[in-house]
Symmetry: none
Subunit: 206 residues, 4 copies
Amino acid sequence: MGRPTNTDARRAQIVEALMQVMAVHGFDGASIRLIAEAADLTPGLVHYHFKTKHDILLELMNHLAALLEERLNDALAHKATPREHLHAFLRALLSLDPVDRPDPAAVACWIAVGAQAVRAPALAARLQVALAGLQRTLAALLRDALADAGRSTQGAEADAWVLIAAIQGSFGLAGAGVAPRGFAADGLIRAADALIDAAPPAGKGA
Amino acid sequence: MGRPTNTDARRAQIVEALMQVMAVHGFDGASIRLIAEAADLTPGLVHYHFKTKHDILLELMNHLAALLEERLNDALAHKATPREHLHAFLRALLSLDPVDRPDPAAVACWIAVGAQAVRAPALAARLQVALAGLQRTLAALLRDALADAGRSTQGAEADAWVLIAAIQGSFGLAGAGVAPRGFAADGLIRAADALIDAAPPAGKGA
Amino acid sequence: MGRPTNTDARRAQIVEALMQVMAVHGFDGASIRLIAEAADLTPGLVHYHFKTKHDILLELMNHLAALLEERLNDALAHKATPREHLHAFLRALLSLDPVDRPDPAAVACWIAVGAQAVRAPALAARLQVALAGLQRTLAALLRDALADAGRSTQGAEADAWVLIAAIQGSFGLAGAGVAPRGFAADGLIRAADALIDAAPPAGKGA
Amino acid sequence: MGRPTNTDARRAQIVEALMQVMAVHGFDGASIRLIAEAADLTPGLVHYHFKTKHDILLELMNHLAALLEERLNDALAHKATPREHLHAFLRALLSLDPVDRPDPAAVACWIAVGAQAVRAPALAARLQVALAGLQRTLAALLRDALADAGRSTQGAEADAWVLIAAIQGSFGLAGAGVAPRGFAADGLIRAADALIDAAPPAGKGA
DNA sequence: GATGAATGAGGATTCATTCAT
DNA sequence: CATGAATGAATCCTCATTCAT
């Protein structure tokens, strides 16, 4: 039966390496040589496991999406009032939850992946799926909180997109060193609360 | 005596070409050859007018900042109620105002510039200045609207940053083809209104 | 497992190619393309084995120094009277010994390397080591010959430098096609003899 | 009659600039831009006065030859004993005469020109003429000194070449930072004296 | 699986030279 | 005379990818 395959481990190793390198150098700056060095492998071996550099990026996208989903599930596991639930979720997304501090490289990559998606349709498709999932979860949480506050849930869908845009944007601002450090989590929670509180009362049929 | 200078025109031409190419290929993908072709010049001439490719990017950043400022001033020129003022401003930023549709390339570039700023301190500095200016304007508008609504203006600064993050983020989402087309302007205006309506009443000293 | 290395052979091949090309075109004229052609390799491969062109030059310097040392040792191996020893050494350096005619490219390179050393500190350092070793050997031979002739050995150090300067200079003159062909060896041996014969007698402790 | 020509002054200015730049960067490193900057001119104007970069080098060679000749004449003007005469001449060549310290750039250029002469026949020819003139002068001085010392003048021609080689070589060693600073003048004068003192007596017919 | 040599295209940049003004 | 734009070839070097071992 020969030697047991280590392909999965190697692929994970390479994807992780791309994430680290890409966080610093961007996708174009992440040469196969740098990736191989970060993974402690040879360039040739990288291409044995991935046909092209772009394929590594696709797998990294999957990896990031999985990390995100995991984080979401963690946030949803804690039972609390709907509004606290929403707060916990936003904090988790923005990585400020003190219990579980994630890889800052993942955040940096998220921006880089977004920039790259403009010109890589396959990547954009995967990103869209991940974000759509995120939006669904967020919208559900919003609906719960709105209902709990006796408000119409009609705007939940759209509000969820706005919050996601704000999250995505605050990653970018943080990456560029713009905006006061730490404004994001507090600001977003304020905004979410405002969206709930300013929603029209549930009332008629809506 | 001597040949008249056309440097300013040429530089503008090259910056414009970088913007067009960068919107499609990103900064790293915008080779001097592509830029030169887009500007209908020789690669050598591009380097005659700009010492390095990065210098073109810096000038493009200035150009984008100028476009932004112009758009801001236009938005502020129209007199109206404070809230309408704010709405007009947000619409202008998101380029959905039917009167004055801007180059979509500028929007695409804005994202690419943000991604590049992580690795280019000079660029990040320029971006920071531009965004800080934008935040000041937005905060002022918010304050007016809050005051007019009899609300405390205390949160205006922070709220302005959140709105900017949301704007920046919606550019990114749009670029990646994520999120329903056109959600941005309506969503952001809803959010801005919510932030105003949910603010505590002005009242006691706060 | 894995492909066997041929780096050492390739590097030697490239260094040799640089030597041939440099002898004709100088260092600046020795483009990577020319070097690769001379070595029958691709330009890319040259850079696979040497990070920069300057690195090839450094290794060439080492190569030349090794060739020199080899030649020196050969010359010192033949036993004879001290003065004959010195003559053999000078002839060997000037490459006129009919028994062992060296690569004229090596001589041409020696001049080019000297000219380049002005601008390349690392190269200058290596050159200095090689020449200092040469001077030590030459001074020792001079001392032997002086002692054998009953002369003071005090000036041996300085005289060795003068001889080295004359050797270096005659390479240059030969390269430029100046000076009668073949003047160098005879002239230098005459000069060495004169320096010995004109030295003050050993006598008092000096 | 129009504006008076300033061509000669401009050409001299450019030649001088090449000398300064070449002393630091070598001939290949001396770009037209650098030369123009050093001469406080525009690149275009440089090519108005010289068809090619190589032409400037040729004129520089002439300039250096003229400087050399001037220096020789100065040295020969001082009357003294033949041997003192020779000493003065050597000191003058090696630029250690405290009365008239020359441009160190000229010395640095001299080496660079020599290295370039290998591949520029026209340059080599001019260099040859200059050095042959130098050799004639030096041989004459040697002959005087030999005759004055009652020695045969037969070896004067060859000895002059050796001294020139030593001078040329010591420039190179100095440029590369090799050899003890200042060894050159003293060493060469010692060598010249030795060549005279060790020459056979004039005697029979020589 | 793994190594490392090899390739070829393409990257930014420099530069001598020409020429319109 | 002088300026400065313009050109095109050549520069070194990097890189994703392939392949022999």
